[in-house]
Symmetry: C2
Subunit: 136 residues, 2 copies
């Protein structure tokens, strides 16, 4: 991205009715930041896992196959920052911390869950597509 290139995709792009129409395509839009947080490699899976209800740290680590403690912790912080989940420290010993979706988190995670369901139901199509593409 050269500095002299005029960027006109920041504010109102396709619909210029409002003064500042939020636009995921725009780099500086708040929705884009939220979108990138949600579509993170691990964050999305964490959100989906929480659709079934609150989870503890260890539960999530076991549920999301392959995630390291570091990345799980990092993902949870990111999602908490975006207001998609809440962290509840019971302050007991041994420690117990629960992660649960906020109302907005429920809305978002539900859609991710639905998306994942579509993918799970069409696994054969993906296998075929990959084989086709790799074959030639």
């Amino acid at each position: 991205m050269t500095a002299d290139a005029p960027i006109t995709n920041v504010g109102a792009d396709d619909r210029l009715d409002g003064p500042f129409e939020p636009n995921v395509f725009a780099r500086d839009c708040g929705s884009r930041a939220a979108f990138e947080a949600i579509t993170g490699r691990w964050t999305s899976l964490v959100l989906i896992a929480l659709v079934e209800g609150p989870h503890r740290f260890g539960e999530l680590r076991r549920r999301v196959d392959g995630v390291s403690e570091k990345m799980l912790s990092q993902s949870l912080h990111a999602l908490e920052r975006e207001g998609l989940l809440t962290r509840t420290d019971h302050g007991t010993l041994p420690p117990r911390v629960d992660y649960a979706l906020t109302p907005l988190g429920v809305e978002v995670a539900g859609r991710l869950r639905a998306l994942a369901d579509v993918l799970q139901d069409t696994v054969p199509l993906f296998e075929a597509a990959r084989a086709e593409y790799d074959g030639q």
Copy 2:
């Protein structure tokens, strides 16, 4: 991930009715691969852009604010490989190549678009959540 840790999250996890129930949480599941391809930083935005109809390379580059040519090209190949979009080279001069969603791509992209709409409509909530989190 230690090697001796028994991983039992590969196949049937929460529902063990079928022989091999696809599971996004499982590392080796085809749906997980598709999910990671879809939720890539740029791939998701490309898919959303294509909901409005076929686009040329340059159009996409201008539409998806901040993407480099390299990453756009790479993202398009990945999505084509997953069978979510088709590439049509008209073979003319100057060259013209169109990218369009497959039926499966329409299904997936539509859901991403809906998700993005939610985020765009709740931008203020994210701003507030971030301010709250950063403040303390």
